[in-house]
Amino acid sequence: MTGDLDDLRKRIDLLDEHLVRLLNARAACALEIGRLKRDLGMEIYQPAREVEVLSHVAEVNTGPLDTPALRRLFERIIDEARRLERLADEARTSE
């Protein structure tokens, strides 16, 4: 029993490592988009695109997380991406 628990926890740790890598890869991509938005004179906040992202996530969802749960998680991911874009934007402006 204890052996099973340990195995499962190791699996969680491994999955978290994957998640961290994936989240950072996603953030790097968002930063690149932020740079392009700036060059194109677009606003950081693109509500239409955020809706697209959320519905795409809902489409590919197979559970056991339900769609509202996944939506809340992705809202946080998008919030942080928006913050990252803002910080990068401010850093460029002050240069």
Binding site: I44, Y45, R72, E75, R82
Partner: protein, 349 residues
């Protein structure tokens, strides 16, 4: 800041609020619930009016997390502010008692009362020369002559003087005589006077308005602090409630509330707080036990013949006894009260 959207707010309405918050420099944390969406906004440096958000379509409520006052808040300055008037430190370990007559009436009255409060352990003489009275026909004070009497009595007995400024026109005069300038309850939101006091170099004792919330009171302190005068002490003096057994209801809970929200010293005036002599000592004891940094107490050598506030003035012997009781209470919460040996005559009389 938290923006709560209405239950039926549309996505477009939510998006407009997010766009507005982003434009104002906030980082927005969106949280979509089963019924309604809540937007958390953090950061943002510009001053703005929450009403700008409240009027947007779909917004139910906007709640500030931070206080509208800055300089007066504990967030701005974590350590307690200690105001020094020569050797008197207000806001330190010692509980400072300011006592004296409601108003200066005669030389003899001022002298006798001053000697009595000094003997009992007061550090500051209180007394008015310009009296804001509810009725225009009541005694209005002696004016400059009153200030002269109070100041010379305070000097003779090595006490500091606190006296009320009612109007900007009296400021120069009162500054010449008084060590601490008092703003009365009725003037707590006299913003032109508060701005002027912000330019003064004398410490200010700001009384709580008769129906002011603690937030409004701290905002009034903010006016003085914003003007550059960082020596502001607050004084709870009772608020108007439906209760008529006492003149006002003394808000003892204001002491721990203010101490948590602000770094400024908090004093209590149990004389105006209750309006009745027999209620002054119990409330003074409660105030010290609750953590007040000082007390403002009316004492008169002959209260029955006082020209103002006689009913709430203590006899000197009652004040003596109260001070003895406070000396037992203060150490229980790690404070002290008038450490110097004082004459013990008169206790319990």
């Amino acid at each position: 800041m938290v923006v709560v959207m209405q239950e039926r707010a549309t996505d477009e309405q939510i998006q407009r609020v997010i766009a507005k918050l982003v434009e104002m420099g906030f980082d927005v944390h969106r949280s979509t619930g089963a019924l309604r969406t809540v937007l958390g906004a953090v950061g943002g440096t510009r001053q703005f009016d929450t009403a700008l958000l409240e009027v947007l379509d779909g917004v139910q409520e906007v709640m500030r997390i931070t206080e509208p006052y800055k300089l007066a808040s504990r967030t701005f300055k974590q350590d307690d502010t200690v105001i020094t008037v020569d050797d008197v430190r207000i806001g330190g370990d010692e509980v400072i008692v300011m006592a004296g007559p409601c108003s200066a009436e005669t030389e003899e009255q001022v002298e006798t009362t001053t000697a009595a409060v000094k003997r009992a352990g007061a550090k500051v003489l209180r007394g008015g020369a310009f009296k804001p009275r509810s009725s225009p026909y009541s005694f209005q004070g002696l004016g400059e002559e009153g200030l002269r009497l109070l100041k010379s009595a305070a000097d003779r007995h090595s006490l500091k003087l606190v006296s009320e400024v009612m109007d900007i026109s009296q400021l120069d005069l009162i500054e010449r005589y008084s060590d601490i300038l008092q703003v009365g309850a009725r003037n707590m939101q006299n913003f032109t006077l508060l701005r002027e006091l912000g330019r003064s170099r004398k410490p200010i004792l700001l009384k709580r308005g008769i129906s002011a919330t603690i937030e409004e009171w701290l905002l009034s302190a903010e006016y003085i602090l914003a003007g550059g005068n960082m020596s502001v002490m607050l004084c709870e003096r009772g608020i108007r409630t439906f209760e008529s057994a006492t003149r006002n209801t003394l808000d003892i809970s204001a002491i721990p509330v203010v101490r948590k929200l602000s770094h400024l010293p908090i004093l209590v005036d149990p004389s105006h707080g209750t309006g009745r002599r027999d209620k002054v000592a119990p409330m003074a004891r409660a105030a010290v036990a609750a953590g007040a940094d000082g007390l403002l107490i009316e004492v008169h050598n002959d209260p029955d013949h006082a020209l103002s506030d006689g009913a709430q003035s203590l006899f000197p012997a009652q004040f003596d006894r109260l001070m003895a009781e406070l000396r037992i209470i203060a150490p229980a919460i790690g404070r002290s009260i008038c450490l110097e040996p004082v004459a013990r005559r008169g206790w319990g009389v």
